[in-house]
């Protein structure tokens, strides 16, 4: 790490999502402690931190996937474009159509590649065959998978390789054109080549949407993200522009973690 003396002020953020005093409990156990965090539009925000520090829990509260887990309680506020997604009259199903999610283990449905990608559109009520085909192709191109699967769209998605399956899941999430995409360790089951492709893809997707990615790989965080947030024991320790976080962290804990001294 080259020490830089240059002291650039951080660029102002155009906020896409914001949490205020966000706490998440599993029964009595608190997994996330009063986190205030902003996600900038058309940016990639990386969440890093040792195992069990609450990254996934925090991520899942950004699209109300925590609601589907038994015994979870969420306190505090989360805004999407300034609107509270935990408001009393908010439908979590609608929130999830705007904030998509990709999981650690690729989980395509046991359906054809086409049906996988078309799933979100169909449940949202799209019937028109031509339009569906168009949107499916667009999503698959977006996910850099089109060329590999265009001749086998009607074969099962489970017949693809691990990396292809993960890109299929990304295509499936992109098809409904979400504004934010949450990714929980999307590359942890992939080989280095598939990982590199995925990282390229993330960098390209940023032009059109906002991404929050959990990763255990510091290099990956450095490569793909503009901002990085470091979590420790359920608390947000430090957040800032990735370059600064990796070169001049303000907190000792951040520096220790990034330099591999613990976690």
């Amino acid at each position: 790490m080259t020490p830089q003396v240059r002291s650039t002020p951080e660029l102002p953020l155009v906020v896409k999502m914001r949490t205020r005093g966000l706490s998440v409990f599993y029964g009595e156990k608190q997994a996330v402690h009063e986190v205030d965090l902003e996600v900038g539009v058309n940016q990639v925000l990386a969440l890093i931190g040792p195992s069990g520090c609450g990254k996934s829990t925090f991520l899942r509260s950004l699209n109300r996937m925590n609601d589907t887990v038994d015994g979870v309680r969420v306190l505090g506020e989360v805004d999407l474009d300034g609107r509270p997604i935990y408001g009393p009259d908010v439908d979590p199903v609608v929130v999830r159509r705007h904030v998509g999610m990709v999981f650690q283990r690729s989980n395509p449905f046991p359906k054809s590649i086409f049906d996988n990608v078309a799933y979100g559109l169909r449940i949202a009520g799209m019937r028109d065959k031509a339009e569906l085909a168009l949107r499916v192709e667009k999503a698959l191109r977006h996910a850099a998978l089109w060329d590999e699967v265009k001749d086998r769209l009607f074969e099962s998605g489970l017949g693809l390789s691990g990396g292809q399956q993960q890109r299929l899941c990304i295509a499936r999430a992109l098809a409904v054109e979400p504004e934010v995409l949450l990714m929980d360790e999307p590359a942890s089951a992939l080989d280095p080549i598939a990982t590199a492709r995925l990282e390229d893809l993330i960098s390209e997707l940023r032009a059109e949407l906002t991404i929050v990615i959990v990763t255990h790989n510091m290099q990956q965080a450095a490569r793909v993200s503009q901002r990085t947030a470091f979590f420790y024991m359920g608390k947000l320790v430090e957040v800032g522009e990735t370059q600064r976080m990796f070169t001049r962290p303000k907190e000792q804990a951040t520096e220790d973690y990034i330099s591999g001294r613990f976690g």
Binding site: F109, G159, L160
Partner: protein, 328 residues
């Protein structure tokens, strides 16, 4: 053994002993398992051979053909100017038309499945997807316990209670009829279909559920579009088993069907099934007579029907399982 031990103890110039070990116990256990498996296969095969041997004379024996030919067993006979399918084995002129019996079996089985499939699958969905874990722990064994109810009890219940209810509700012409027998059968079929379907639903990976919800499905959409389709091969297998149980069940239909070998599609009329016929007549028949061989032919045909249905569905299920998993 002894030199392996000594080479270990000698320590100094230790060479690896990679020779095959005898493993006598393994081999005995393996042989015993194979023997037991063979025994059960052989005994099933022997039953088949026996039934086949007693059924085949229908095709060639002159003793049988004096009373009935294979064709006469399925074609109607002319009586007073109109065609009739008659099963009257004990009469001046014995009549052995098997159409009413198979129609009877079909009627009660269809009624049983029409009732049992939707209710059991719905119960399985509730249990696997909606019930709290405590509710489920109570419900599942409770329903499965139904499978342990002796069929004579189920048949008795159908005969005494169900028959009255149905007559009051539908005003059926005959008190004991295909509907009563079918619903009595459903009693035996439901637990089978429920149990297998519930297992199939619970075997659907949690990740499908999560993915469906994360894409903005309502819980119902996730169920109907992802979870049920993924569990369908398993549910199909459950229905298969239920079909076999229903068409093969004897005592319930003996008690509740009214046992009249009529040819019509009215579910409110009495009916007579293949199994009930065999059970009631085989005990009194003269060994080697035409009637005797025809009863065995009925058994063989029933076996054939279930076997063919099994093979066809198994094929279909296999294919859908493969297309789901993406292997070719």
């Amino acid at each position: 053994m002894s030199d392996a031990a000594s080479s270990k103890s000698s320590g100094a110039a230790r060479t690896l002993d990679l020779r095959r070990r005898p493993r006598r116990f393994e081999r005995i256990a393996e042989a015993a398992i194979v023997a037991v498996a063979l025994l059960s296969i052989v005994s099933v095969a022997l039953i088949l051979v026996f039934v086949g041997k007693e059924a085949l004379p229908v095709l060639y024996s002159s003793v049988v053909h004096e009373e009935v030919t294979p064709l006469a067993m399925i074609l109607p006979r002319e009586i007073n100017g109109h065609a009739a399918y008659l099963w009257q084995p004990v009469s001046e002129i014995p009549k052995y038309n098997i159409v009413p019996l198979f129609l009877g079996s079909l009627k009660v089985t269809v009624v049983a499945l029409l009732f049992a499939v939707p209710t059991s699958v719905a119960a399985a969905v509730y249990c696997a997807e909606y019930a709290s874990s405590r509710m489920r722990e109570f419900l599942k064994p409770a329903i499965e316990l139904m499978a342990g109810v002796p069929s004579v009890v189920a048949g008795f219940f159908a005969l005494v209670v169900l028959a009255s209810w149905i007559q009051r509700a539908f005003g059926t012409e005959h008190r004991l009829n295909a509907m009563v027998a079918g619903l009595g059968l459903a009693f035996a079929t439901c637990p089978v279909i429920f149990s297998v379907s519930e297992d199939a639903l619970r075997a659907v990976p949690q990740s499908y559920r999560t993915a469906a919800l994360a894409l903005g499905s309502t819980p119902t959409q996730a169920l109907l579009r992802v979870i049920l389709p993924a569990a369908l091969p398993g549910i199909g297998a459950g229905v298969m088993l239920g079909f076999g149980r229903a068409i093969g069940e004897t005592l319930i239909v003996v008690l509740a069907s009214g046992n009249a070998a009529l040819v019509d599609l009215n579910l409110g009329h009495s009916t007579r099934t293949v199994t009930a016929t065999i059970a009631q007549e085989l005990g009194e028949v003269v060994v080697g007579s035409a009637h005797y061989h025809v009863l065995f032919a009925l058994g063989a045909l029933l076996f054939l029907v279930t076997f063919v249905v099994n093979v066809i569905t198994e094929r279909a299920l296999h294919r859908s399982r493969q297309s789901l998993s993406g292997s070719k």
